[in-house]
Symmetry: C2
DNA sequence: TTTATGTTTTGCCCATTAACGAAACAACGA
DNA sequence: TCGTTGTTTCGTTAATGGGCAAAACATAAA
């Protein structure tokens, strides 16, 4: 139950839901997510830490950047995938989510790795 | 998005999740739910009102009692059913939920309508 | 080494919310 | 009618949680 509640609370915030949905299109570094949400870096960092605690995102470090992505399926954590699937089905055509995807195209095109 | 967030916030509380799962076995009056959760009537009433606002429960009045139940499928609100299905799949074997079901058997057997 | 950039941690403020008790409301029974 | 029972509303309190800025941390470039 505790693990379920962690996940449920994680998706009970609009910013975090937007993060998950935009990561569905591929990994992003924290600064790209910050730019998309237009929130302070510390705020976004906290959101990402909470999503990681709930096992809803994974990350890798590369140079100065930290790239976040949705987790790959893991035995014993099927309900994480079910949660993501629930989000996809419910929010696929949501106006906010679609606008975020559009905005992200711009952000992606300006991003260059060293 | 607003409707989705209402549902997401509704299931981000353990008491409310327990209510939904126990209603999956059939309708209950508010006093039975109160007895199961061991919370003050006013607290449970507020939880039920919030679940109703999110369209996650429905109710009917009969005499002095108010019976709550899960909603039947409605066109345009498929995601409510998807949410309930997500809960069922995730929490079917949860210890808390199973204990609640057991406790409810006692509560049901003591309940007599006028 | 110093500077710049990306990220997280810390500390604080403000809004939200879960909890309760008391009071109000509703419906039945004596 | 008057109590009794079931439920909700209201008012208050304590805990939670999202937001920011500033400081700390990490890594790469100058």
């Amino acid at each position: 139950m505790r693990e379920f509640m962690n996940v449920a609370k994680a998706v009970a915030d609009e910013s975090r839901v937007r993060i998950l949905m935009v990561l569905d299109a591929g990994e992003l570094c924290a600064c790209q997510i910050q730019e998309m949400l237009e929130l302070a870096p510390s705020t976004v960092s906290k959101h990402l830490a909470l999503l990681y605690q709930a096992r809803l995102v994974d990350y890798r470090k590369e140079g100065r950047w930290i790239f976040y992505r949705l987790p790959s399926p893991e035995p014993g954590w099927e309900f994480v995938q079910q949660t993501l699937e629930w989000l996809r089905q419910t929010l696929a055509w949501d106006a906010t989510i679609m606008a975020d995807r559009e905005k992200l195209k711009q952000i992606r095109s300006c991003f260059v790795q060293a």
